[in-house]
Structures are given as C-alpha cells and as structure tokens.
Subunit: 584 residues, 2 copies
C-alpha cells in the first residue's frame, strides 16, 4: 500500500465539520455544486493515488542533480508534470477570465491535501505556481495578467518565489539583491537567492520567477523592497518564448527530505525583469503570496501526516506479534496492543484536527470572496493562517515520528517509507516563515491591540457550546468550556502585557499558538463527533463511531493540556532573562 | 564547531545532583577517588572531542557496505576502534580479575554520554561489547570467562547481541533459530537474525556473537530460549584464533540514521557455539544484557540531545538576523530573540533532566554493587531503567528536532549536521525494547502489585521537599509537590486497576512513564538548582545561575503538564475500545 486518497475523511470535514454548501451556486462560485465538488475530489484522488503516489519513493531515491545549469529531475516526474497540467489542476481556484476554474479555496486545498499526502516533493511545484498566480492576479497590470496568467494557469509555465538570500532568511529587511532600471520601464536584477523551490527544471517550457529586490535609492529595510517578475526565457508581448534570460541555477542543496524537489541557489546576473505592483511595494505583494503559501504549507502538514498515519495503520493491522490483551489472541495484529492503538488513534486525531483547522481557514477565504460579513471573515482568515501553518506542521512532524515508531525496527529502514515522511515533514515548520515567526505574527499583528479576532472565535465556540448538543457529550462540553476559559485567560493576559511586557508576550507566542490550535481542533472535532452521532442511525455506524472516539482521544491526550499551556504562557520571559548558556 | 565534551555539566550532575562520593575508596571500588574520576573524564572528553567527533559526519556520508560477506566500514573507523581499545575504554566498569578497571557504572556512563554525543554510530560497537561482557560475566562458566572476557575487555574482540528475527522483534517467544547438540557439549546454530548492530566488521580480530536460540524439544515461548556464544572465528582453549565459523553477514540495512554502524542480517548455518548459562535459561541471561543496554540507550538519548543542543546553541549565538526585542540591537544573534532562546532553554533543560535520570539509575546500580540497602537500590534500578531508556530517548528525538528548527533553512541542509542528529536520534526509542515495551515493563513488572519502588521514590522526593530549602524556590517546591501528588494519584489509580482493568493500565502506560520522567527530572533539576544557589557566592555565578533558570524553564514548560498526564492516564482504554480505523 502506498497512499489511499482520504476522500471519506475530507468529505466529512467539508460537509459536517466546516460546511461548504454556502458556496454552492453562489455569485462568487456560480457553477459550483455538490456534484462538481464530488467529481473534482474523485479526479484529484485518482491523480494522487495513481500518478503522484507511485513516484514518491522513486523521487526520494533519485533526487535531482545539476548538469551545467540544467536541473535534471527524477524519473517519471516530467510525465507527471504534463499529466498534472493537462488535468487543469493549476487553475482550480484561479480566475476564469484567465482560464481558471474559479472554484472555492476549500476545494482547491482539499485536492492539495491529497496531492501532498501522495507526493509532497512533486506538489511543491504547483504550490509555488499558485503563489505566483495569486500575486500576479492581485498586483500585476492588466497586460501582465493577460500575458502571464493564462500560461501559468494552463501549467505551460511554472512559477517560483525568490525571497531568501544567504544573509536574509526570516529577516527580509536585510536583503540586498538589486534591480536597476533600463530606462524603458524594465529592470536588470543582480544578486543571489537561496532555497528556491523548483527554481530550475525542464518540466515546463518557461519559469516565471517572482523576485524581491531593491531599486536604487530605495529606503532601507522592508519599505525598500519591490517585487519583480523575471522569466527564465524572455517573452514577447504575444507570449512567445525568446532568448534565455541571465538567471540560472548555480547549485542544488543536499537536503534531509523532499529530495525530488530541486532546492536551488539562483544567480541573477543583470537578468531582465519587470516590476509587479508599485515601486517599494514588494512586501505587500509578497504577503499575498505568503498568506496563500502558508495555508498551503499547513495542508502539507495535514496531507503528510495523514499519509504517515495510513502507512502505520496499515502496518499495525498486518504485522502480527505477541498475545493481545484486547482479544486474547496469540500472534495478534499489533493494532490489538493498547499502546500501539493509542499511538495510532492520537496520530489520526491530530490529522483530523489539523485538517479541520486548515479547512476552517480556507472557508474564511471563501466567505470573504462571497462577500459575507467580509471584514469579520478576513479577520478570521488572518488570525487562523499562522495557526493553520504552524500547528499543522508541528503535528505533521509528531505524527510522522510516531509513524516510524509504530513500525518498530522496520520504521528505521528506508525501504519501508515511514522514514521518508519523517524526513519530508521536517521542512514544513521551517519554510514560508518558521513556526516561531508564525507565532510572533499571531500574538503581534493578528491578535492586535483589542484581540477582536480571538474574541470572535471565542464567541463562536461559546455559541456552539450553547447549542442543543446530545447529552452524551456532556464531559467533552465541560472540557471544551475549560479549554475556552484557558484560551480567554491567555488572550487577556497577552493583551494586557502587550505594551508593558513585549518580551513576555514574545516568549509566550509559540505556546499560545499551540493552545489556539488545540482549542480550535478540539472544538471542530467535537462538532464532527456531534454530526457523526446524529447520523449513526442512517450512516456507516462503525466509521461514524470512530469519529466520536477519535475526538475523545484528542480530548484526553491533547486538549487536557490547555491549563498547563496557560501556566507556561504566564511564565513568560522570566527565566530566560540573562540566561547565557555560553559554550565553553 | 563539532562537539564539545560536556565535562562541566556532567561533573555538576555527578557531584551536586546525584552524588558519587559514596563510591570513593569503597570496598566495591577500592581505587576510585575524585582524582581518578577527573582523570578518566578528561581523557574520555579528549577521545570524544578529538577522535570520535571528527568522524561523525564522515561516517554518516560513507556508511558501510557489504563486499562478499565482508563489511567495509567508514574511513577512519578502523583506526578509531584501535585507539579506543588501546585506551582501555571497553573495560571501564569491568571486573579487574579479567583486565577491567572495576570503576563505577556512573563513571562509565558519564564517558559514554560524551562518546554518544560525539559519534553514536561508532559508540554502538563498544556498547554492544559491554553487553556481551556483562552477560558472560554473569552467566558464563569460569572457563568461558577466562577465555572470552580478557579479549573482550581489551577490545581485541568485540561482542554482539543476536536476538531479533524477521518474525520475532518485540516478541522473543516467537523466535525460531535452532541449536542442535553436537554431543560433546557444543552446539550447531541454524537460523537468521536481523538488525544485528556491528554484527560484522574487520575492526577487531574476532567477534563474539551472543545468540538466542532454541534447543531441540525446548518448551514453547520464552521459557524455551537458551543463550549461546558463537564466535566469528573458532577459538581454542588458549584463545588462539582458528577456522572461520559458519556465521556470516548476508545483508546490510539501508537506514534513516547511524549510517556508520553496520546493521546486519546474520545467517547461522550450523555455526559452532557453546551454551551460556543453563539450558532454557536464555531469557534471564538476555535480561542481564538488556538492562545494561537499556540504560546505555538512555544515555544515547542524553548524549545525542546534548550534541544537538550544542550545535543549535552555537548557531544561535553566531547567526545574526533581525532586531532583538531583548537588546534592541539590529542584526542581533538569533539567541537574542525570545522564541529562539526559549527553544534552546527547553532543549538544554530536557538534556540535563534526562542526564540526571540516567545518572540516578547508574547510581542505583553502583549502590547495589556497594551492598548498601541492596534490595531497595535494586528495586530503584529496576524501576528507573525503563524510564531512563524511554524518557531520555523520546526527549532525544524532540531535542534533535528542535535543533533542526533553531537552524531554520540551514537545519534542513545535510551539510549543517543538525539533520544527522534528527536522523540518528530516531532509532533510540525503537531498539532494546521499543519505548512502548518500556512503558509496559514499568506499569507491569516494575510497578508490581504493591508499587513499592514508586512509593520509595515518592518518599525520597517528599524528604527532599521537607529538607531545608532556600526560600526563593518556594514556587517550585509547590509545583514539585503538585507533581508528586499527581504521580501518587496516577500510581494508586494504576495499582487499583491492575487486576480489574488491565487494558486501562496498558493504555495508560506510556503517559505514566512520561509523568514519572517529568517528575524525577523536575526533582533532580531542583536539587541541582538548590546546589547551584548554595554555591553562588563562591562559584561561577553566571553558569550556576543558568542552572537555576533552566530548572525554572523545565517547571514552566514540562512539569506543568503533570495533572494533564493524570487526566490522560485516567481516560485509559475507554475511547480505544472497538476503535476500528479501518482503511478503505
């Protein structure tokens, strides 16, 4: 077994945990209905299971290599890139005016959930292209949109994000790449960028690099950054491919995981480029890409964790060893040992919680697009994005690690495949803003000075608790109420400290983010459990009962830590002050 | 920077957290005193830093390969094996009657702490040899001891443990390797063993395989297992090397980590062997090796985590990025960002807690050897071994993962070295009994029916709390008291459920083990903080103050979860009952 598309889990999350029917036949998504939804998910599941998953291990083994300035990608990937483009997958949520399908973000990300689970290294290519599509769509001129979007959406060309430099990783203010005007409205870019995902490859006929650089006399810091579009091959106004531009890959990184995704050192040597958006307006444009990319990375955590869980679950059902305390059977499947079962249940509960958190984020994006209470939903989206990114990817690493553990000695052997998830999962908490940066963003900009988004979230959870819930969830309602009180305490504490004690807030950020994710995950799992309970008479009773049990496992093993998180949050910067930890 | 021997941290733990002076000039350790202790630690630090650490990355890259039935090890390793043997390191704690130095377990393990931190893949070779030395010493005949121990202790030969078979990993009852009597008191062994660490190599002139196998007509299950000694080269009664025995390596595993340690598939084809201990008494003999090996694996977690922390700490002090909230400095070391500092502080606090737990275990072994209240100390040792093994190695994985995170994008690049710790650390929770097996052992055999060892431990912590502690640790004393109450509640709960609800106990085992480790770690860190406090006037004030701060970080971020663990423990098997998690 390699990968089984998680259609049932995803559909349950869409329909019964988050809800997507508000988008059906809405003015924002006029052609979208449940029939189309199912058709798209089925096709995405087939692509994931039949095309992408079989290449996952082969891609890990073959990796990529640099020949001259050409990147040679893993066997089978060229064909898969073509299949992917032909299926129209680049343009799922893109503007129909440029060839996109204009479908909801939730549906797009439901597909990516499966694509990442099947083959994360591959799926980074379209993920990056989508970031480029969104940035050009939001900030490009009409001419730029007309020229580049159809090609990117058709998958004839791909896109990249060129942000990081050796001296400027998390701190974009420090970047030094220069853009000099040619006098005709175009520019020449010079500098080096590192960690450029799919920065060079021959899977598409052109590559559209979006590049952060400084104009001459630009202000220092982040206010002096502009966004440029720099194609691998120059393009005339008709979109015909011209001469090779002077941007090239000069090195590939040797990485812990995602071996099939080329991570390039890119050298820009007076490379021809055009400005996207206003001069010195690069940071805003970049955040357009970033916001989309951060949610996408959250789904990497979800998809990978789900795949890691599947592999471990499958192994535990097949591998027989020892006498089961549960069944009394000798030579029992190791799933019938309580400790192993608990590991798998916690893994799957975390997967479903992370999926629900990321889907809730996507649903806020769709609600903004539908124009319903747009300001509130935009606040909700902004608040959830760092949680979706960081909580899901931290859980991704934990679940992948537990997946190795369930396999015992076989988990440490590369052929098994569990180790690849452990390696691949490790990048997601790092890129697109480390999880520490996400936490700083959450307690800084996103919490704001009045904590409106946090309070609105608390109101929604309160409203859920006050709704008519079945009596057999009484204990969990109490637990959720406690966790909500912990969240409110923590939020009020951070808001009160913001001005006076910024160091305490900064030291509490990561724990606060974890608490937020635990709470939202717990809320949504209970919502799903209630829905499952209400369908028990008519639905797949075993599968639905599992949803209730997974929620209970999450409450006992994850949500139970809410008040401990508050203690940690309140400890703040205290013990860190003057901590030197000098190395001899 | 590769690796800095943690002499100061280790010595502080030995002297001020655990205490080793009871062993000085004692009848059990007649030549041992603080001067010898320091000399041994210094020499071990040099070996770790100068010989083993420089080979760590090279060994990871080169790995091992099989040529015919010869295993070729990584460049430099042959010389290091010779240097190691010449230094007399195999025999640190071994019986002087056979060439050992008869030093305390605590000192031996203090050295291994550094060896593992410097190069875990290498250090597995002497770790396995020590297991063989202990087993032969405890269960061999006088002739076997005279013949094999001097060679193993001198490091001329090495030892292995051949337990696992494809169908018998955690479940030794299922093993099928056969031993047939030759009629002259010797045996022929036939079967296949897997996951044999350093099972074949040419670093020593002979390899002594200790092998579990079944005699003809042996009872089924674990009562029918015997232990055999099966050398690579046959040996005459004088210890001279003879013909090649029919045991060989037929395959090497391709692993996630510890690449320089050959993990062998061993084939025994009527290989000549002799019995160690009584027929069908193999399990007891194996547990002699296992107990020692489990503590040794705990120290792998400690050493590796310490090394991972060092590398991350060093990076955080050197890497500059962004404006510090702490100092106001632009382009500040990332250690001056509160979130990064917190990560590093939690990492180091876990390292020191794990080190103290493992050292407490070693000190119980030494106390048994000194004959002081031997029954109580043996109970203490038995209770602590699974905690030392599992808690330390789980923390090892967490710390190594955080180490990658501190490095940001560079952490994902293999050249940096942080990723190697993340890969190497992952095996330790799996082998020598998975951490799930450790937890089952803890709540089963070790907790027993009356929980004596747990109660004795609680008494010791109570006595510490009732001693005259400085007033500025009042908050931590309260927190420790709460955690102790949580531990007592959990222990009583498990003892009460043992007979009636074994599934609930089994499902609670891992969380109970975590709670035990958190509590013991918290106790010992506070003990160290009190000692540091009392030396502030005379000692290295900055370094000592750090000990107090690390303890506080541990209390806020780890020990604060004690009551959440109790909630999880009490939830027991409940939600796991009838949980199916079928894959479609």
């Amino acid at each position: 077994m390699t990968y089984r598309p998680s259609l049932k889990d995803i559909t349950f999350c869409l329909d019964h945990v988050i809800g997507m029917s508000a988008s059906y036949n809405s003015p924002a998504f006029p052609d979208f209905d449940s029939g189309l939804r199912d058709a798209v998910l089925d096709a995405a599941g087939q692509l994931a299971g039949d095309v992408l998953a079989p290449l996952n291990r082969a891609g890990d083994l073959a990796g990529t290599r640099l020949e001259g300035d050409q990147v040679v990608i893993a066997p089978g990937f060229l064909e898969a890139i073509k299949t992917y483009a032909e299926g129209g997958w680049y343009g799922l949520a893109a503007d129909p005016a440029y060839g996109g399908q204009g479908l909801p973000k939730m549906l797009e990300q439901a597909c990516f959930d499966m694509f990442h689970g099947a083959n994360m290294a591959f799926t980074l290519l379209p993920t990056l292209s989508q970031g480029a599509i969104e940035a050009i769509h939001a900030h490009g001129t009409q001419a730029q949109k007309d020229l580049f979007l159809p090609k990117l959406i058709a998958g004839e060309w791909s896109g990249t994000m060129n942000l990081t430099e050796p001296g400027a990783g998390s701190d974009l203010a420090a970047l030094t790449t220069r853009a000099e005007p040619n006098g005709d409205g175009t520019f020449r870019i010079t500098g080096q960028k590192i960690f450029i995902t799919w920065g060079e490859h021959d899977g598409t006929e052109n590559i559209v690099h979006l590049v952060l650089a400084r104009l001459p006399d630009a202000p220092k810091g982040t206010r002096g950054i502009s966004l440029f579009l720099c194609p691998k091959f120059l393009v005339d106004t008709e979109g015909s491919i011209g001469a090779r531009n002077t941007v090239k890959c000069v090195g590939l990184e040797h990485k812990l995981g995602i071996h099939a995704s080329p991570t390039c050192v890119m050298s820009f040597e007076a490379a021809q480029a055009e400005l996207i958006g206003p001069p010195n307006g690069g940071l805003a444009a970049m955040f357009t890409m970033m916001n989309a990319a951060r949610l996408a990375v959250g789904f990497e955590g979800v998809g990978l964790a789900d795949a890691a869980w599947q592999k471990a679950q499958n192994y535990a059902l097949e591998r027989r060893q020892g006498k089961s305390l549960i069944t009394g059977q000798d030579y029992a499947p190791i799933y019938d040992h309580p400790d192993v079962r608990l590991m798998l249940a916690v893994m799957k509960a975390k997967v479903e919680a992370a999926r629900a958190i990321c889907m809730l984020t996507a649903s806020a994006i769709d609600a903004v697009k539908r124009g319903e209470d747009a300001e509130r939903h935009k606040r909700r989206e902004d608040f959830l994005v760092p949680i979706a990114k960081a909580w899901s990817t931290d859980r991704g690493v934990e679940v992948a690690s537990a997946g190795v553990q369930v396999h015992g000695g076989m988990g440490f052997i590369e052929e098994t495949g569990a180790a690849q998830y452990y390696r691949d999962a490790r990048i997601a908490p790092i890129y697109e803003g480390t999880n520490g940066i996400q936490a700083a963003d959450l307690v800084g900009r996103k919490l704001g000075h009045d904590g409106t988004a946090a309070k609105e979230l608390a109101d929604d959870i309160k409203a859920f608790l006050n709704s008519d819930l079945p009596a057999n969830f009484k204990a969990e309602c109490e637990a959720l109420k406690s966790a909500l009180a912990a969240f409110t305490t923590a939020t009020d504490h951070l808001l009160a400290q913001k001005a006076a004690a910024p160091l305490d807030v900064a030291a509490a950020a990561t724990t606060y983010l974890t608490l937020c994710g635990d709470l939202i995950g717990g809320w949504l799992l209970l919502k799903g459990a209630v829905a499952a309970h209400n369908q028990l008479e008519t639905g797949d009773k075993i599968w639905l009962t599992d949803r209730i049990k997974l929620m209970r496992v999450f409450y006992a093993h994850v949500l139970s830590h809410a008040s401990a998180h508050v203690a940690a949050i309140k400890s703040g910067y205290g013990a860190l002050d003057d901590l030197t930890l000098n190395l001899d």
